[in-house]
Symmetry: D2
């Protein structure tokens, strides 16, 4: 069975596991107050060209979204996101569990559009009864988006400008950031650090067993952030768990080195399928490809390839997702192309 | 520097790390729907002699407490705990963040007493205005307690009987359960499974990098528990993270095998210190020892041993904690005894 | 200045005030455990032809929505509402403050459509990852809707049938129910009691100073509902405040008697404006009329009539709302028609 | 049956009802943006000698406590209260429902002691792990207390000084403030405005049908307080409901004029009972008297007097509460003294 179901099916990249092993018997202070956490944070700040940044390691994506959003919003505020944003659709109400509404703007190609955002905010303030409504308090985007698409630098700059104009923090969910940075893009890690107020670098889907590195980009980590992390049950006693993995991923550019091949293989898959006449539900430049398949072909396919069902396309077609990861091999892609 | 500051200073037991390594490149379904999760759950149910049990793996102790308690309580209920219970003191309000009050009963030697519990509940229902008060909705105990003390089987049976009489689920926090099971005790894992409604087996402090195994003991896992886990940001995409570690810990009795020496060394330390005339703040039969030290000796001690400050004892003395773990060696204890 | 800005600009209907006065010095048990509360509840149950109903008096609409919805939903569930539902738009995130998401379906003429509802639910359950999503846990509709429109009996029956098919409680917000019951409609109070699981009869906008009467229609008031009301700060010490008003409103059919003229006057206004060539943003059969006015006319109008701004219609037109109430007089409507 | 069960058994003081009646048909802007609300606020500010104060009218005591506390605390903070504080005991977990812990200090005679408060805070900050604990974020006291006792001006000044030293807002719950101000006390309304950051003047128990007037004493009303009120379902559409009542109560000193006799009668009752040999559970100088009665006398008493059961005193005695209010008459007290 070929595994293309997602990008979190394998364990950790061998170098990550190796670093866990080699540091294993080193006694460390708990709760992230240790030297490896400090080292990993420094490496990340360097990679972001963001010396004034503050880094905090959490364990998973939904957890990170809820902790960061709850920490930044005032009680009467909500987070603006595109309608397909992960926080709006697949987090089981984690944001609402903290008492905050997700305020949605229809997505365009999986992304939030700066003009739509501005219009949303202006309409809100123009409403005479907006004191009875949930205030937009911050903006959430993901890069790559849920559909694998990417913001251009210009798009990010325009969103950032709207956020600044209305004094709204911009938060970028980088659960799959590695596959975004290594695609055909003009957006770099320092660009993201410059244009957002807080973002996270995804570990779970990009080579780690778990872990997401939150970066507050300009000394803006909320007061007692650590206590708020604990309050959400998100603090790990062994801070090394996440930190050691990021320490490995940000040594010698490992993070991008292992994500780049996944993107290359996804595009090879895309081009190969296109050549065979397959259509795509969305044009994705990253490691997730959304393919329209005839329903009649699914049973046979399912016997040979593990994929994700996304949605019905029409009465006779289905959209499925094929995802590569740092663990995908050239042979697997070639074999898949033969099968499809 | 000798490390006796806590039981989570080292990484994972080598066999745990080994199992993470050997299963690393095995592709697995996400979110705990994989065969290793199933295997680990079966091993735990066998160790608990609890075939009808349901096991769910979470990542940390505070997280586990908040998720389980929030899942079991109705909105108008709180959790009864001893005043020194971890949920009441050191979880940054995680229980309250889910909207529930911690209802406290003064502790006795770190433990909740069955008679105190019964009196609390009876007083509540006798109060004419109890409809305006937070209802006791479940009972939380920890074993070992925060002070390292243990319930006897009889004590657990009596608490369990009170809970049954008032239809209150009993939840046992076993963050350090390994050190409880391997102490001089008449309480076994099957006893705990029989006497509680839900409990967790601590991994983080007992040989794992992270992970706590929640056991619902009689088919009583709340409906859509998984969704509630996700809602609290507590679900890991790579379910293997926690499951593989427990799969190792519950193979060939590793869990108890590695905890037993920690308890033996803690008692060796205790007896050695007692012989030197040291006094103890509490009589602990497990891996945490609470020692009364003259303040004047602390600076010198601090230069050689990493320990935890607990509280002032009087103007001239301080209570410190010395903790052993699966990683503590006989040599370290001997060296510490020489130093003190 | 003519007052057409809303239906809560005046105090209470004189008979309501009179009943508050005549019962004022009668000592009553607190918190709704008094005989007037019991009397008012009986009168409401009789009016609803719902002997097994359970009635609870609350103070305001948003409060009622949040208390009822929070009491009915399980933690992992949200409430399905139309996109223009009051709970989604103008309650400052009150529902989310209780930890629950509002799940929206696009509205049709201000209303939720049964087929849209069914499709929403079926799509949810068809999604392979719905365990990571907020479950639809109940359905919220308002009658009249935010736009003054009404469900037909057939529409309600179809929504009710979908709810029953999926075991979802149906909650009807009747903030303006008096104006709905007395419009040209085939829906009666007993119909509503029969077709919903819980609904409320609005007092604030229909003749009372405050107060909403929640009716659980078939012995389904949640366990310890009273405690949950208290927990939301929604219990009044003097239960008489709301109960006496409803006791008056449900004596000799006062509720409908005072709402009917408001509807008649609103339709007189509508027909008069239509005859003068005005266009309407929506076709409302109740006491709120949504009129499209040229922007250039607004300043003059604003000097003579208090109205509500609703939204821009286009570059040159605005939608305004004119509302009648039990306090509106024929003379005021005639004067308004002269002005417009 | 003589009514001494509480101070909220009757409706509103006749002058309050009269003002509701005389303003009833005056059309007013909704949600508290009307001239009577403004007038009442001005009168209260004048009575408090607090021109920079900001007044907001809410409907009930628990509601007020939860709204104010939630608005003032940061997410990682709790409210410090005495163990018998209403927020800790009889609000059904309303504070916790907003995600905040009530941090308790043992009460002294129903009151919080400044030294106990200071010690609590200092102990918190001295704890090395206080980042894992709930931070004290504000201080709650009630005046009169739950037991009818009063702070002296010196006691308030000392509490206020501790609060200022640690930058903690001081919130005074004045549900029965009228009976506190008119007792034998050196504390005036301007003193309270000067020594607290926010307090409320109770209406429900002091002559109104409902209503509590929150006063932020120095321009410190939280940003978008109104939206947070709405979010808690605590905003009334007809702002007049509460405002008109306070407008009456603060005209010509009505508030104190009607509370003073209640205190005088309570003390007459106290002195009369003391002369007959009755003992008191607490020495209360206000309208609530806590009397120790032989159990054997309760059945007969209960047939003639409505009182509140407080708690068992010992095997043969019970503590009951007798409360007077603005509605209590000299004749009722004389009759009660004859009976007892």
């Amino acid at each position: 069975m070929l595994f293309f179901v997602n990008d979190y099916g394998y364990g950790a990249h061998p170098k990550v596991l190796e670093h866990l092993t080699e540091t294993n018997m080193q006694p460390l202070t708990g709760y992230g107050n240790d030297e490896i956490t400090a080292s990993a944070a420094e490496k990340i700040k360097a990679a972001c060209a963001c010396p004034e940044g503050q880094v905090y390691f959490l364990t998973g994506g939904t957890q990170t979204n809820m902790v960061v959003i709850d920490a930044l919003l005032r009680p009467y505020e909500g987070v603006v996101a595109s309608s397909c944003g992960h926080v709006n659709t697949h987090e089981a109400g984690a944001i609402e569990s903290t008492g905050h509404k997700v305020l949605t703007v229809p997505h365009r190609n999986g992304k939030l559009d700066a003009d739509d955002l501005r219009e949303y905010i202006e309409t809100f303030y123009a409403d005479e009864s907006h004191n009875h409504m949930v205030f937009p308090g911050m903006v959430y985007i993901s890069h790559p988006s849920e559909y694998g698409t990417l913001y251009t630098k210009n798009e990010l700059e325009r969103i950032s400008a709207v956020c600044k104009a209305f004094d709204l923090p911009l938060f970028l969910d980088g659960a799959r950031l590695g596959y975004g940075l290594t695609a055909d893009t003009d957006v770099t890690l320092p660009d993201i650090a410059r244009l957002t107020d807080v973002f996270y670098i995804g570990g779970t889907k990009c080579g780690a067993l778990c872990g997401e590195a939150v970066v507050f980009t300009h000394g803006n980590m909320p007061r007692q952030f650590e206590t708020m992390v604990k309050r959400h049950g998100a603090m790990v006693a062994k801070g090394r768990l996440n930190a050691v993995q990021f320490d490995a991923l940000f040594t010698d550019g490992l993070y991008e080195k292992i994500c780049a091949p996944a993107v290359r293989l996804a595009l090879k898959l895309r081009d190969g399928l296109a050549a065979k006449g397959y259509r795509f539900a969305i044009d994705s430049p990253t490691n997730q490809q959304f393919i329209i398949v005839e329903n009649s072909r699914l049973p046979e396919l399912g016997g040979k390839v593990a994929y994700s069902f996304i949605e019905k396309y029409d009465a006779e077609h289905t959209v499925i997702r094929l995802a590569t990861s740092w663990a995908t091999t050239e042979e697997q892609v070639d074999e898949l192309l033969r099968l499809l």
